[in-house]
């Protein structure tokens, strides 16, 4: 299975994503500069964390116009897998590949902590190896993760099981105190209706090895691989 990790000017999470795919998952992976405009031959692309284009104007607002984003749109429309982590999630929102937008954290602070997440949908290519309701420990590191959608869109997200992860207590309860950024309904990650594009603020790639505090994110990558193998390895 071939992965691509997209690098925009200002991206800094590409090394972590690349490392986990290459060394932990042991799959072929290339870094793709933002000027690449063809994703033929890839099965999954990752938009990693960072501060693309300095996050000027709004997070992800400028990156979405990079040449590679046209290719990512086609890639997603073809049903291939797209994973946006943190800034990558913000870019997918700006590009309209996922619904919603980010506001500044309610605390106005940049938060870099471990959080607990509850798996709300385990029937996706990205989450099939988790149990529904499973509580995960993952790293977050962002200043703008305060997810917002209007009421009508929220209803659509709920109707189609597009809320994938929510911030919770270690016991799995969804409470205001467990919400690190003020996100609506404690939403930490959402997918598109088709389920092949996932964005999340927490960092599965920085939570994939026990030695750095948590290996709970690793199953995101293992699930992707399992999904691909289940389809006969032809993407």
């Amino acid at each position: 299975m071939k992965f691509g990790v997209i690098v925009f000017p200002g991206t800094n999470g590409d090394f972590d994503a690349y490392h986990v795919i290459k060394d932990v998952l042991q799959q072929p992976v290339d870094k793709l500069w933002h000027t690449v405009d063809n994703l033929d031959g890839y099965d999954c692309v990752v938009l990693p964390a960072g501060f693309s284009y300095g996050d000027y104007l709004r997070t992800g607002a400028v990156a979405r116009f990079s040449p590679i984003m046209g290719a990512v749109e086609k890639f997603a429309a073809a049903g291939k897998l797209v994973l946006g982590i943190c800034n990558g999630f913000q870019i997918l929102l700006e590009a309209g590949l996922l619904p919603g937008a980010m506001r500044r954290n309610a605390s106005l602070q940049f938060r870099n902590i471990f959080v607990n997440l509850r798996v709300e949908n385990n029937r996706l290519p990205f989450t099939s190896l988790y149990r529904e309701g499973q509580v995960l420990k993952m790293d977050i590191a962002h200043g703008e993760g305060n997810y917002y959608v209007d009421a009508a869109t929220l209803q659509e997200l709920e109707d189609h099981n597009q809320i994938v992860f929510r911030y919770c207590t270690p016991e799995g309860e969804i409470t205001p105190a467990a919400n690190p950024n003020g996100a609506l309904m404690n939403i930490a990650g959402v997918c598109n209706r088709r389920g092949n594009v996932l964005g999340l603020m927490p960092h599965p790639e920085r939570s994939s090895e026990g030695i750095i505090g948590s290996a709970d994110g690793r199953l995101v990558f293992e699930s992707i691989l399992r999904f691909w193998e289940g389809r006969g390895g032809n993407g």
Partner: protein, 83 residues
């Protein structure tokens, strides 16, 4: 040459964490009459266009990039300026 003053603000329905912080800062200073604060962005664009043509172009720029329609709205003013 025209100058466009573009104001981007959060929609009324969207909570503004920065505005809330500024409001409580003002309250700390004794300005208790301040009921609400909304923080927005102000952009100045200088365009090499006749004023009549500028509005359409600026609206396009706002829709495509300068504002995010999910959470923000915008207004703008256009005025002739010297070279």
């Amino acid at each position: 040459m025209v100058k466009a003053k573009v104001f981007v603000t959060l929609k009324k329905s969207v909570l503004d964490p920065q505005g809330s912080a500024v409001r409580s800062g003002l309250a700390t200073l004794g300005y208790h009459e301040v009921q609400d604060v909304r923080v927005g962005k102000y952009l100045e664009l200088f365009l090499d266009l006749p004023a009549a043509a500028a509005a359409g172009r600026v609206r396009e720029m706002c829709d495509k990039l300068l504002a995010n329609p999910v959470i923000e709205e915008y207004t703008f003013e256009i005025a002739e300026v010297g070279q």
